[in-house]
Symmetry: D2
Subunit: 132 residues, 4 copies
Amino acid sequence: MGVNSYSFRVRYAETDQMGVVYHGNYAQYFEMGRVEWLRALGVTYKSMEDNGIMLPVISLRIDYKKSALYDDLLTVETQLKSKPMVKIEFDYILRNEAGELLATGNTVLAFMDKNTGRPIRCPDYILDKLQK
Amino acid sequence: MGVNSYSFRVRYAETDQMGVVYHGNYAQYFEMGRVEWLRALGVTYKSMEDNGIMLPVISLRIDYKKSALYDDLLTVETQLKSKPMVKIEFDYILRNEAGELLATGNTVLAFMDKNTGRPIRCPDYILDKLQK
Amino acid sequence: MGVNSYSFRVRYAETDQMGVVYHGNYAQYFEMGRVEWLRALGVTYKSMEDNGIMLPVISLRIDYKKSALYDDLLTVETQLKSKPMVKIEFDYILRNEAGELLATGNTVLAFMDKNTGRPIRCPDYILDKLQK
Amino acid sequence: MGVNSYSFRVRYAETDQMGVVYHGNYAQYFEMGRVEWLRALGVTYKSMEDNGIMLPVISLRIDYKKSALYDDLLTVETQLKSKPMVKIEFDYILRNEAGELLATGNTVLAFMDKNTGRPIRCPDYILDKLQK
């Protein structure tokens, strides 16, 4: 249940007229974080969807500490909060290149069968990888 | 082949740190324009998709004249350019509340069968409505 | 401290390949909600910024209940949670045209002096309007 | 006037319910292309803005050939079209990891004095770097 770090640069399109990153765009940053966390585990979210499993977000929490600026090289640290069952929960920490804390976040996602739309348990191939 | 006008207010999220609407967001404005043009004709794009027809954009042209600002009430005028065959082409004019010309645009979209991914002709129920 | 309702239609651009509105876009919906809440009170957020006051978001919470779909006519109900001091807090309820509950949300924003970047108290002209 | 290549991964948020990247998002991809073209030249757009020069887009053209998909690793090739004067023009080619052509594009941007809002000539420090 290690932490995965992923770095990316703020796009101009992501700023607003306050001169900082629009607060709603952090949802995309956290998403990149958990997608790369999964990839580091050896799973792609794309392949999960191709195999009939979706992961809709059921809750999102963001606490904003300091503004992210255009062209900043940001790093999102993603950490699994507990063993996934029918849901999977992640904590996020967003920092700029100077290491300053910009935001913390949390998302809960639900494993869902793509065809039936019904909740399902976390697939074994993910649980297996988590135990290694 | 009349013109349809659709008005909407600029969202904060649509601005960038230049203090104006981010240029890429005009693609959404033109899309709202043609969706409302269709609705005025008596067709919803949603029902077209539900009936197996998609309309991917194959070209987009935008000429920017004057900036759109946060909270501006904009109006997009959408005009069909010619009788649709396998493609459908629209011209757009974007104005602010003072009537100032902000941008002109053009899109070409292709009728596509959702299941096969192959191009198809404009459905008759649209051609019929256009002749009235 | 009444509730303000604001309705708008889901844009195609707001959907993702899950076939529903991308979860991060709800931040924009809630923003429209509080902007229209302010307008109903007789204040525009634009004029506040023009007069040197900014309202950065310091926390965002969203609980997703049911998916919002393309072309849905959504309504966001925005309610002030308590008398604003240096912060202002809103609760949101998002429903579709059938009245189904799609999401609930909460944001806390801070009054900030645009020039100094320092926190300030809620301007009197807003408190005055709230007492009427 | 060499070509700069920049690679990035498609975000889930960038897809729409057609199951492909929303066409309007290509504007952001081309923007990343020219920002990285400038960086490769030894200039950051951020420093240009900090020094009082803005580069608003005055025209955008995109021709879509093949869909970009979620999680695809895309590469945008950015090429300066001619010696910049009061405007600067770029051509773009977007490819996926298999090298397939997804789209071509063109943007014209204007050099603008941030304080006066008036057009200006391309700064000498850019012209100098182009001649090397």
